[in-house]
Every structure is written in C-alpha cells, then in structure tokens.
Subunit: 288 residues, 2 copies
Amino acid sequence: MTYPDDLVELVESYLGRIRFGEDSDVSPLTEAMQYSLLGGGKRIRPVLLMATMRAYGASPETALPTAAALEMIHTYSLIHDDLPAFDNDILRRGQPTCHVKYGESIAILAGDALFAEAFRLICERQEAVPAVILAVMREISEATGVRGMVGGQYLDVSGNTTSEAQLGLMHRLKTGRLIAACVYCGGLLAGVGGAELDNLTGFAAELGLLFQIKDDILDVIGDTAVLGKQAGADARLKRSTYASIYGLEKAQELARRSMLLALEALARVKGSTETLAVVTNYIYERQR
Amino acid sequence: MTYPDDLVELVESYLGRIRFGEDSDVSPLTEAMQYSLLGGGKRIRPVLLMATMRAYGASPETALPTAAALEMIHTYSLIHDDLPAFDNDILRRGQPTCHVKYGESIAILAGDALFAEAFRLICERQEAVPAVILAVMREISEATGVRGMVGGQYLDVSGNTTSEAQLGLMHRLKTGRLIAACVYCGGLLAGVGGAELDNLTGFAAELGLLFQIKDDILDVIGDTAVLGKQAGADARLKRSTYASIYGLEKAQELARRSMLLALEALARVKGSTETLAVVTNYIYERQR
C-alpha cells in the first residue's frame, strides 16, 4: 500500500473551496491565508483524522470540516513560527513565508484568522450530534493551548530544553499533542469510545514523537531544495533537537524505535488499521 | 443605578482563579497571559453577557466560563494590537504592554494561547445543553475571524479606511462584532430565541458602534494618565478615526446619536433591561 493520496485529494479539494470572506475589502488578508494554506504538502493531520475514520468503517468525507480545520490550525502555527520573533524563516514549502510575502502584520493576522475560522468551520459545518462536536472542539482547544501546541512553542523559544526530559516535553506539546488530537478526533467522529479511544491515544502519542524526531533529523541531513524550507535552521537558532542532544546516529535509532513502538501500539487498536500503518511508515521514511 | 460592579467582581474573581497550566516549565508564558488578563478594567464584554442573562432572570454566575472567555479573547486582541508590527504601544491600563514586559515572541504566544484557552474554557466548563454551547462557540468564532475582529484589525492596519463606509465597516468588524456577540451569547445562554434574539442583536450592533466612536474621541481628548494608554496614538499612526474624518464636534454628536439609537433599540427588548441601559450610558460617558 502507498500513502493515501485519495484522502489528500479530498482535503485539498475541500480546502480550495473554502471562502473566508466575500468582502473584497479584506481580500489581501484572505489571500495571505489561502497562500499559506494551499501551499501543498502531505496533509498528514487531516489524513490521520480521515484514516482513523476509515479504520472504523466511517466515511472520511463526513469529517472534512474538522480535517480542514486541523490543517488550518497547523498552517496558523507555521505562519507564526516563521515570524522574525521566532524562527525568522524565509522559505516554507519552497515559497517565501507568509510574512516575507505579505508583511509581518498581515502574517500575524492571517494566523489569528485561520485559528478562528478553523473553530468556525467545525461549529458550522461538521455534522455529528452536538455532544460529539463539542468533544472534538474540547480536544482541539486543549491540544492548541498552554498544554499543547502553544505551550510547546513557548518551550522551544525559551531555550529551556537542554535536558532530555525538557526536550521530550517540548516535542510532546509542540507537535505530538496536535498529531494525537487528529487520531483522537477521528475516533470520536467515528463513534469510538472507552478503552478503544485509549488504544488510539497510545498510538497517536508515539506517532507524534516519531514525527518530531524525524523532523529534527531532516533539519540536519535534509536538502533545502527537497525540504522546501531552509535546512540547518535548528543549528542556526541554537535550538536543542534530538540530533543535537543525542547525536545524529542515536537520533536515527530513536526514530526507528519510535516507529516500531507506534506500530506496536497500533496493533492494539481494533479497527482496520492498514492506512494508519502506511502513514506511520511514511512519517518514518519521509525525506521532507 | 450605577455600573454593575457586582458583575465585575464576579468575573474578576473567576478570572483570578483560572489556572492555565500546572506545568512550571511554561510559567513565564502563563505569567504573561495573567499579567495582561488581570490588568483590571471595566470588563465591559463579560458584564454585557451577564447583564443580558440578568435581563431574562437567568443567573449571571452560570455564564462565567463564557464571560471569562470573552475577556480572554479581548485581551488576546489587545496584546496582538499593541505589538510593534501594529500600534507599537508601550502602555496599556497604565502598565507596560505585554511585549514590552515579556518580549515579542512571548507576547505573540500569550495572545495565541489566550485564544485557545478561551475556547477550551467554554467547551469544558460552560454548563448548558451541547447545542446551545455549540451555538455560543459558533457566534464567538465568527465574531473573531475574518468577518469579525481580525478582519477589522486587518482593515485598520491596511489604511484602506479613508471613506466613511470603509471606516464604518472597520469599526463594525474590529470592535462592534465582538461587543454584539456578548449580548447575543447572553441571550442564547438565557434561553432566548427567535425575534427576541434579533431585538438583542439590533441593540448590540448599535452599542458596538457607540463604543468605537467614543474610543476614537477619547484618543483625541483623553489624558494618557486617565486612559492608561498613550493618547494620540491614532494621529501618530495616521489612522482614520471618527474624529479625523468627521471632526471632533461631529464625532461627539454621532456618539450622542448612537447612544440614543442604542437605547431606542434596547426599548424593543422584552427583558428587564435596566442594567443594560446603565452599561450603555457608561460606555457613552466614560473617560477612558
């Protein structure tokens, strides 16, 4: 089996149809949002959500508003992360970053607006009973707040990540928590509950860790042309990474171990997990 | 009657008890969030929500999670608005602004985190049937996105607000939309629906306009010491305001007209609207 490009196409097409505002007065803002959102990529977060739906025989299409919202939130985090006050990155997916193209104030607002519009999309478009939609929003708001993405982003810029424990916490919050939320929300929308949701969470947490170790490795060995963003950014910013703390070889070993643990956790999940296994493998093998 | 300080105390005490993260690793981030959130003020947005509850005989306490969330969202917008890329303000409520005190990256993240935690608070703590909570979140997400607060913030920095129509749109989106959402959500949580919700909306829209006209006037005639922020910022930034487009005298006339229209709209509301009338008057009379 190969990466589920059918799910990528579903979400690409849905994202491309979203209209953020009819009002032409705000069109440079919505253009900046779309510029960053429609920049391509493997759409790992929406794919994870929809692959989880598929594992339980639920139609992936029914989760599209939430799938798109997760990609919008990821995009918002990239836009803010690229800002001069953070990584000061000029390239993303092979194109100028949002603030390079539109200026800093529009980039900050484009991130802010993508976050609000992501919640709006779930509230307005996601079909499910209100209690389930509310549970999805609870999970996503926690995954993006202090105990999730933004908390991790803070730890990353604070520089307090020199110990292995701190580095682990930072990655769990910054990347792992939202990756885990994608799988968890897929379970919620597919009607999964109880112990099986815990099984999914176990898999998702390990997957989030794998994703980040691999990201750190690619920043060292990756090629700017293939990555679509500047390689070596972590070293330039003197950030602690799995590669800098453990060394490249050990980091690669950790990635392999994390991949095996993720597949082991996935084996405890009762649904049909072929697609989720493929995505796990893709995350481990990816070159960008 | 005077301004409902009992409602202010309710929300102050609730805000003061919120813990954003037990994790000491992220404490400078949560400190920055609390620094900006607990800076005082008249808490107009939560008060409007709770005064609307009161108008229909519902207990204001039951709306506290949403009330606090609205203040957190307002605070997030102030933090981002004060950034160097926007107004570059150094004073807010008589204290250094968030980025002056904590640095730009922490200030951006504090705003981002307040937004996420606001949604989390509503999802986790607001007691009501899920369909009503979902309606509240739909309203707030729309009021803070492209067709609301962030869209208005964009128009403000874009400088495309030289005509009366553009200035009106900017103010309706930037300030009016969230002010209106407070009243609307108060109605939703009190169980109001149908035509009466429309009556509330009519009042709320006019109130939002009044608030902004008054803000523009205070920026010209206000005293930095009383305002707690630098007066004259609009002129320094060459922003179009009601004062710059209409002149001070006409702007004051417009504020008075807007106040009367708000009270007229409030007269169509069927609940016991004394507190809402007092808040309207306060917004008109305020010196900061």
